[in-house]
Symmetry: C2
């Protein structure tokens, strides 16, 4: 398969690249590096980048930034940034990206454990995750040409515990290699409208 | 209690007003009518309107519009409108509104059955509902002064079946009087971070 992986240089993305790269052609994309540079918050640029790649078998997003601050300290800009990136950025990716998928191709987005297990500072992340999971279920029943869409909900990554540990005390860290299995199920399985929780 | 009810003239809002109005002072608000005029997508106007009302015991949102179209026909404007109204409009209401609540006051937002039971045309509604429910759980653990926050997830309203029936075949319609009980539990109970599904 020819798979576009967005957020390829992030912690989740590296795990996904390692898992899928052994069996498939993985095209690494990101905001600032990789083989393809693209910004999920820029639909026109996204379309240009996808058109240049030609037909894809799968699009995987392991991307999506959010604001991180105490609930009442999150600024309007941080809320807007979170919505434009992790939430509507991934929605844009699905809506634009489906045009460039082969029949039966797949889209895999990323939500996260904060959807239903919140932590202080994480309200914008929770909101984005909740929106993504509901969108995936809704889009699954309307996408044309047998195109599938799922989400993976990672827990806190073992590899991120140095930075994120203080925010996630008591959460069981998950190795990125295990999170990558969720993306494998979505891309290499036959499901649609599913959320694979790896927490 | 002194309760601000936004969306008071909608189908859900009328049911909530009937239920809570028998025991409490309900101030009706909406975009175009009611005792107070306000627009959830306008945070500055929202703050002015709330400041003029003085301390409240509860804020209830039975509001929030979304775009409604086939997945691939939803325009960028319809997505932005849905996010600005039902999703971030209600989030703004909670974040601004908490300042004007008494200690231990409550906020009740509205999601909906489409979060996990999607229908064609409803992807923007599903996304908004998923975001609201995750936000409510996250906000509940950070709101100060014992302020509570919950959501009610109505099914398709019996009173809306003339207009919405064709989109919701097989869904069991729910009378607005029954949906109103969810708002009563949130306002008059002691829970926080809950979603009351009335489908």
């Amino acid at each position: 398969m020819k798979i576009l992986l967005i957020g390829a240089r992030g912690t989740v993305g590296r795990g996904v690249a390692a898992e899928l790269g052994t069996r498939h052609e993985v095209i690494a994309a990101g905001r600032t590096g990789g083989e393809v540079t693209l910004d999920l918050a820029d639909p026109a640029g996204l379309r240009r980048a996808l058109a240049a790649l030609g037909p894809l078998d799968a699009i995987v997003s392991a991307a999506g930034q959010v604001g991180w601050a105490p609930l009442l300290a999150l600024t309007p800009d941080q809320w807007a940034f979170s919505v434009a990136n992790k939430l509507m950025g991934q929605v844009n990716l699905a809506l634009v990206g489906q045009e460039f998928l082969v029949d039966g191709g797949s889209i895999t987005l990323t939500s996260g454990v904060l959807r239903d297990q919140p932590v202080p500072y994480g309200a914008a992340a929770s909101l984005a995750n909740g929106g993504i999971e509901a969108f995936v279920r809704a889009a699954a029943i309307e996408l044309p040409r047998g195109i599938r869409i799922n989400a993976v909900s990672p827990g806190v990554l073992l590899e991120s515990m140095d930075a994120l540990g203080p925010f996630f005390r008591g959460f069981e860290p998950v190795p990125s290699a295990r999170v990558a299995l969720g993306y494998s199920r979505s891309v290499e399985g036959a499901d649609t409208g599913q959320v694979y929780a790896v927490h």
